[in-house]
Every structure is written in structure tokens, then in C-alpha cells.
Symmetry: C2
């Protein structure tokens, strides 16, 4: 499978790279899980079976998934009812450690395809199919931060999510 800078979704049908000139360990499947585990452990967090299950469920979706979607998927996988609040806790932890991202405009979460690499994320969210493509454009992100900073604002976390129609949905 080709390694590309834009983790479009579905994960195996990526098409193009944009303003992204450095290499990542873009991962999927087992490699992605391993990378996530490494990132979390490196931060001094535990990689428990529940966390593994949540991450597996999250990365199994081909589009941003709500906490309840993930809860349902984990429940299925475990053959028992898991509580939503546990999933929330874990998703929050994932977001804090950059192995997942929250898509604010969709109240949903998506696994980060390249944990360990810090970027301001730009998501292209399709209003038709719900899928989200992830674009890194450090130059553009920098412009956004600069623009904010120019007003005396101290930017912490830019939320850039372009709603629209993906190529497939026209």
C-alpha cells in the first residue's frame, strides 16, 4: 500500500498529497495500533485492554465516529455492555495524546493516522457521506496561527474543518 501524506478516507483509496514534504510513519491496521500504543506508553500512560479495544474500534471506522458509535462497536466486540463514560474518558485521553482527534463540527472522533507527529489538523468533512479527509499543510496552519496571534490572541489549538462535498460525492 502506498504511503501518502493525506490520509483520505476510506483508508485504502487515498489520492493526493498536498504541501506535505516530510515523511511520516503513516500506519494502518496493526502498525497503526502499535504506533498508537507506543505514543501512549511513551507519554507515561498505560495501554490497557480497554484502551486497545477503544482504539481498535475507532480505527475500524472509515469516518469520524461518535463516542456512542465507538461504545457500540466496543460492546459488540467484547460481547458485553461497556459504559459510554469509560469510552469518553479514553477518547479524551487519546485526543490529549494525539492518537485521535475530535472533529468538532461532527461531534465525533477519528484515529490519527500518524501518531507521534504533531500537526495542526485540517479536515475536509463530506456532508453527504460523512467521511473526513485529513490534510496537513503546515504553512497554512502557520498562517492561521499568525493571524490569530496578530490580534494578541494566543492560539492553542486551531480547529479547521472544511464542510462540503468530497470528490466521490460530487
Amino acid at each position: 500500500m502506498p504511503r501518502l501524506a493525506v490520509s483520505a478516507i476510506p483508508p485504502d483509496s487515498v489520492a493526493m498529497a498536498i504541501h506535505h514534504d516530510h515523511d511520516h510513519d503513516v500506519s494502518s491496521g496493526a502498525a497503526l495500533v502499535a504506533a498508537a500504543e507506543l505514543a501512549l506508553v511513551t507519554s507515561g500512560e498505560q495501554w490497557t485492554s480497554m484502551r486497545a479495544a477503544v482504539f481498535a474500534a475507532l480505527s475500524g471506522f472509515d469516518r469520524p465516529a461518535s463516542a456512542y458509535d465507538v461504545t457500540e462497536a466496543v460492546s459488540q466486540a467484547q460481547g458485553r455492555r461497556v459504559a459510554a463514560n469509560s469510552v469518553y474518558r479514553i477518547l479524551d485521553l487519546f485526543v490529549a495524546n494525539n492518537i485521535a482527534t475530535r472533529v468538532e463540527s461532527a461531534n465525533a472522533y477519528i484515529a490519527n493516522a500518524h501518531p507521534g507527529c504533531q500537526h495542526d489538523c485540517i479536515f475536509l468533512v463530506c456532508d453527504a457521506c460523512g467521511r473526513a479527509a485529513h490534510v496537513d499543510d503546515d504553512q497554512l496552519s502557520a498562517r492561521i496561527r499568525e493571524t490569530a496571534a496578530a490580534t494578541g490572541f494566543r492560539p492553542e489549538k486551531p480547529v479547521v474543518e472544511v464542510r462540503g462535498r468530497c470528490a466521490a460525492c460530487g
Copy 2:
């Protein structure tokens, strides 16, 4: 009161204009309400007393307000219980007609200080005080749309909300 391109909040303590070289009818108070009414009526929508009440309540907040905040404020003002779903309907209408904007990362709404003028909005949302400054930077917005379009995505509505700390909160 000075007319400025950046509608910082609180509304009477604006400080700077950025990449914004055209004039607006930036409005506040009664003038803002009149501008909103005009914008709505021009679109063929009615300006009912309920809509006026919702707009007044919304523009009375000095920061993005949740639909329930607005519901509460309108209820107070009217001396009766108004239903949240009515408020949602009206806020949706406002957003559709560009006299209010939804701040996705805060699940909240904010009155548009210059209805009738189309921009992609950029909000600087303070995580400490909850206030949001509104920046227009057409050049930056264009870059964002271009970046999205370059992937075959058709951008409809960019959501750009920079979370961080405002100058006042350091």
C-alpha cells in the same frame, strides 16, 4: 462609536483590524437589529416578534451563547417559558441567512456583526473567558478553500475556530 472590521468582544472594546480593507455596516444595538431584520426580510423571510426576541437575546450576550442560554434569556425577557425547539428553529434560520453564526467548537451561536456581508468567518475563542473574537481575512479564507479544492473536495462552509487565550486572559 468607532466602526472597526474586527468585532472583538466585548463589543465596545475592539482593538484592531486585520487584512480587512473594505467597509462594512458594522452595527451594534438598534442598528444591528435593524440590519438583521433587513437581511432577513430581503431574503423573503418574516421578521416576527419571536425572531426579534431571539435576535435581541443573542446579540445581548458578549460571548457565544448556547441555544439554551438564548432560550433562558428570551424566557426571562418575555416572562414566559419559551420552548427550546422554537429557539433552535430560529437560530438555524439566522445561521442560514447569515445574521448569526454557529461556533461549532462551543456548541453555541453568536450574532453576526455585519449581516449582508458574506465572509468565511474565523473565530478566536478564548478557553478561559469564553469570549470569541471574529476575524475576517478573505485572503486566508481563500487559501483554505483552495487547499481543500486542490484535493477534489468542494468546500461549502469552512469552519475555522482557533481555541486559545485572548489577550485579556493572557
